[in-house]
Every structure is written in C-alpha cells, then in structure tokens.
C-alpha cells in the first residue's frame, strides 16, 4: 500500500513480518510443559490432561487482555512486566501492582489488600469469598458477574498499549505539524511520509463521502480513528513487549469506537435524515413496521463496524497462533518450517489487513456521516 519499492522499507517490512515467526515460540513453549511420555504410559490421566497442550487456551490467553505483560520464561519462572491494578471495591479505590497475584489465574492465590481478599480467575478479579460460591459457568463468564467482583479500572495490557500508541501518534503528528512552521516548501522527512496519508483520508475518504461543503468539520475525527486503528492493528502484529496487545481485536474497544461514530452520525443528522427515519416515505399504515426497521437500520451500521474490526483482527491473530500451535500439536520441530512459512505469509497479509481495516472503518464512518448530513432533493 504505502510502501514503495525502496530497499530500506522492504527490509523493515520483512523484519516486522518475520518477527512472529521467532517471537511466538516463547510464550508457546512456556504454556506447554513438555508432555511427559512416562506419565502417560503409567496411565496417570489427570496429570496428563493438566500438562497436555491446549491450543484453545493458548490462543485465548494471547488474544485476550491481561494485567501484565508476559515477556519470557527463564528457568520455568515467568518474566513479566506488571501493570497497575486499579479497583473500585466496596471499600473504595484500591491501587496495587499485578505482581501481587503471582501469575495466578485459577482463583487460588488470595491477595489481601486493606482487609479485602481478592482472587484472579481468567484475568477477572473477584472477591475471594464470593468467588467460592460461583458455579463453573459463572466463573467463566466472570466479567459480567458484577456482584461477585469489584469494578476493575486497571491499566491492562490493552490500555497500556493504547496510551503508548496515542503518545507515539501524537508526537509523530505534532512533529509533522511543527515541521510546517520551518519548512514552507514541499514536505520532507516525516511530513513527507505522513502527509500523503492525511491527504488520502481527505481526498479518498472524506470528500467523496461527505461532500466538499461539510467534510472539513469531520476531518479531525476521521484522521484520528484512521491512524489510531491502524497503529494499534500494527502494534498487535508485533509479538513482543511492549507491543503484542490485541487492542483492535478487542470488542470493548471496537464497541467504543463504533459508539462514537454512532453518536457523531446521530448528532450530525440533519432534518432530512431524521425525517426519513421517523416519517419514512411509505403509506402511514406501514409505519409500525417501517419505523422500527429504520431505527434498527441506524443501529446495525455501527454494530457492523464494531464486529467487522473485532472479527478481522482477532481472526488474523487466531490464524497465526493456530499455525504456531501446530508445532506443539504435532509435537515435532519438523512442522516448524511449514508453519513458519504460513505464519510469514499470514503476517504479511495481516499488515495489509491492518491498513485495510483502518481504511474500511474510516470509510464507513465517513459514509454514515455523509448520509446523515446529505442535502436531499425532496422526492
């Protein structure tokens, strides 16, 4: 897309693309203690099942959010970058490091903070006493058991990487903006690279969909989501600290972005837009059907935005992780060249998808805004 045929950029692409090939191996290994043949032979089924490699769990833990950055394992001890846990408990605000949980995600290790006993299960923090009363199903869907857990406002892996991307993007574009003060001529350096992208968003997304009269008002929003989604898609493809978060593949994140697009669209809607929804041009007898349909219509658009981004990015991650997992499922290193080649291919494809999904999200946002602000000729 934006990469020309310059050797430096090609090298960069190749480097980034090959990273998952090398990088994913570590977390893969640490979650699968070597299957002990001897144990299996002796028929100790319980031990075997516990130690058996479970690709689903591995993938789930990699595409999900977390309270810490797992960097590597050395001698069986995980090395992590711990993030702050911020809880709104029954006794008020509590802030402590995720290190307190000692990597426990099974609800066994109890952390006592100011007289409150907390456990963590599948990255969800519960009150220890209430956790014990939950059924297995309730524990698995723990994120929605609001009675059994404190409100969690932790700086998780995704939040951390979102802050990082926001700071990086801000510094980049601030530098671009400042470069225009010094250089009134053709853009060069970082501005020469980023300005065509800004112009692309303006000329290919905003103006064709919103129209020349009104596009300027929505440019800041469109540019922000375009670059925000794009950089976070790319961050998700880099499998080591401080990247490797799956922010744009997280449905909460895409929900907020889609909600903002929905709000922008709704508040931009002119008289024609609302008139078309509330008094559609059909016989009055059809209103009981048409009005709900129209209202569902305005909701499905952002809903599709939310699902599309979430599903595309998560699917890409799942495919790459599955290919890595093949090595451990077949329990042989001979699979690694094949799965590595596929991972390389998928990573390159995901780089395309990263830009494409940012483009699609922005394009559709612009389209919805354009529909809401369009000046209709009355039929």
């Amino acid at each position: 897309m934006v990469f020309s045929n310059k050797p430096v950029q090609f090298l960069l692409v190749a480097l980034v693309a090959s990273i998952p090939y090398f990088g994913f191996a570590n977390p893969g290994v640490d979650s699968i203690p070597v299957v002990n043949e001897a144990v299996a032979e002796h028929g100790v089924q319980v031990a075997h099942e516990e130690k058996e490699f479970n690709a689903t769990d591995l993938i789930n833990s990699h595409i999900g959010d977390s309270h810490e950055f797992h960097i590597a394992d050395i001698g069986g001890h995980p090395i992590s970058f711990y993030l702050p846990v911020i809880l709104w408990t029954n006794n008020g605000l509590e802030v402590f490091s995720a290190e307190q949980f000692h990597h426990d995600n099974s609800g066994e290790h109890v952390v006592s903070i100011n007289g409150q006993r907390l456990v963590r299960y599948n990255e969800v923090i519960f009150y220890a006493d209430k956790f014990e009363n939950l059924t297995e199903d309730q524990r698995k869907n723990g994120a929605f058991e609001f009675d059994a857990r404190p409100l969690d406002f932790s700086i998780t892996k995704n939040v951390f990487s979102m802050m990082m991307s926001a700071i990086v993007l801000f510094l980049l574009f601030f530098a671009v903006a400042r470069s225009y003060n010094k250089n009134q001529l053709a853009p060069k350096g970082i501005a020469g690279f980023l300005e065509p992208l800004v112009v692309f968003v303006r000329d290919e997304i905003a103006i064709p969909n919103i129209g020349t009269k009104q596009y300027a008002k929505y440019m800041p929003y469109l540019l922000t989501i375009f670059f925000f989604i794009w950089i976070n898609n790319l961050i998700g493809l880099i499998p080591f600290f401080p990247f490797s978060s799956n922010l744009t593949g997280n449905i909460y994140f895409t929900f907020v972005l889609a909600l903002i697009t929905f709000l922008v669209t709704s508040f931009s809607g002119n008289k024609d837009y609302w008139k078309h929804i509330l008094t559609p041009p059909v016989p009055k007898a059809l209103y009981p059907i048409m009005i709900p349909v129209e209202i569902i219509g305005i909701l499905t658009k952002p809903f599709a935005l939310m699902i599309r981004l979430f599903a595309n990015i998560t699917a890409g991650h799942i495919i790459i992780l599955s290919l890595i997992s093949l090595i451990f499922i077949f329990e042989t290193a001979w699979v690694s060249p094949i799965s590595g080649a596929f991972v390389l291919f998928m990573s390159v494809l995901e780089m395309l998808v990263a830009a494409l999904q940012a483009y699609v999200f922005t394009l559709l946002s612009a389209l919805f805004i354009g529909q809401a602000v369009a000046e209709h000729d009355h039929h």
Binding site: R149, A177, Y221
Partner: protein, 163 residues
C-alpha cells in the same frame, strides 16, 4: 478470548480517545490540514500565474510578429513610394526640360525670324534709300547728260545686286 472486565477498557478507551482526539485536533490536524490547504492553494496559484504568463508570452510573440509584419509592409510601401517619387521626378524634370528646350527653341526661332524681318526691313529701307539716291543721282545726271545718266544708271544697277 479472555473477556476481562469490560468497564476497564471502555472507560480508558473513552477517556484516552477523547483526550487524544482533542490534542491531535488542536496541535496536529488543524495545522497540518491548514498547511496542506495553503500549499495546495499556492501551487494552484503558481500554476495559474504560470499559465497566464505563458498566454501573455504567446500574445507578446504574436504582437511582435504582427508589428514586424506591419513594419515590413510599411518599409515596402515607403520604398515603393520613394521609387515612384524618384520616377516621377525624373519624368517631370524630363518633361520640364523638354518644354523648356522647346520654348527656348521657339523663342530662338522667333528671335531669328524677328531679326530676319528686321534685316529684311532694313534691307528694304536701304534698298529704297539706295534706289532713291540712285534715282536722285540719275535724275540729276539726266538732267545734265542724258547719255552719262543712262550709263550711270546701268552701272549702278550693275553694282547693286538684289538678293
């Protein structure tokens, strides 16, 4: 996928996105879009003025060509006029000279005629005087000597040769 507490990410995404959006809008998008737009305008202006200059240049060239053409025509006209004038002058002076010559000749002819007439008149006067004188002498001689007188008349007539 481990669905962690939804409130965490929703809360932080909302906060971070809004702060990020407002900061970028103020410090990045407005200056960048302004600069891009300004530059586009200046490029368009430059192109338009270049086009105008080109047209003007074209007009100038055409003008020069036209002026040159006009000058050439004028020069030709002047030359032709001069040539005509020269020819006319030569013709005129020739004519004048001829007229003058003819006039001089006719004057000379008239003068000659007049002189001739005068000379004839003079001659006639002389002849008549001479005749009278002869006649007078003859008469005087005749009166004295008739024969002598006749001889004298004959002698005199022999002297005088009438042209």
């Amino acid at each position: 996928m481990n669905l962690t507490a939804p409130e965490s990410l929703i809360f932080w995404t909302t906060i971070i996105f809004f702060v990020f959006f407002l900061l970028l809008r103020k410090f990045a998008w407005k200056p960048i879009l302004g600069a891009v737009k300004g530059r586009e305008e200046s490029i368009n202006n430059a192109l338009a003025s270049a086009e105008a200059a080109r047209l003007e240049m074209q007009n100038l060239t055409a003008d020069n060509e036209r002026i040159l053409q006009e000058a050439r025509i004028e020069r030709d006209a002047l030359l032709k006029e001069a040539r005509d004038m020269r020819d006319k002058m030569i013709a005129d002076s020739k004519k004048e000279a001829q007229v003058q010559g003819e006039r001089l000749i006719s004057q000379a002819k008239a003068a000659i005629e007049a002189e001739k007439n005068a000379a004839m008149a003079e001659l006639k006067t002389q002849v008549s005087t001479l005749s009278l004188n002869i006649a007078e002498k003859l008469l005087k001689d005749e009166l004295s000597n008739k024969e002598a007188q006749t001889k004298l008349v004959e002698k005199m007539l022999g002297d005088v040769k009438l042209n």
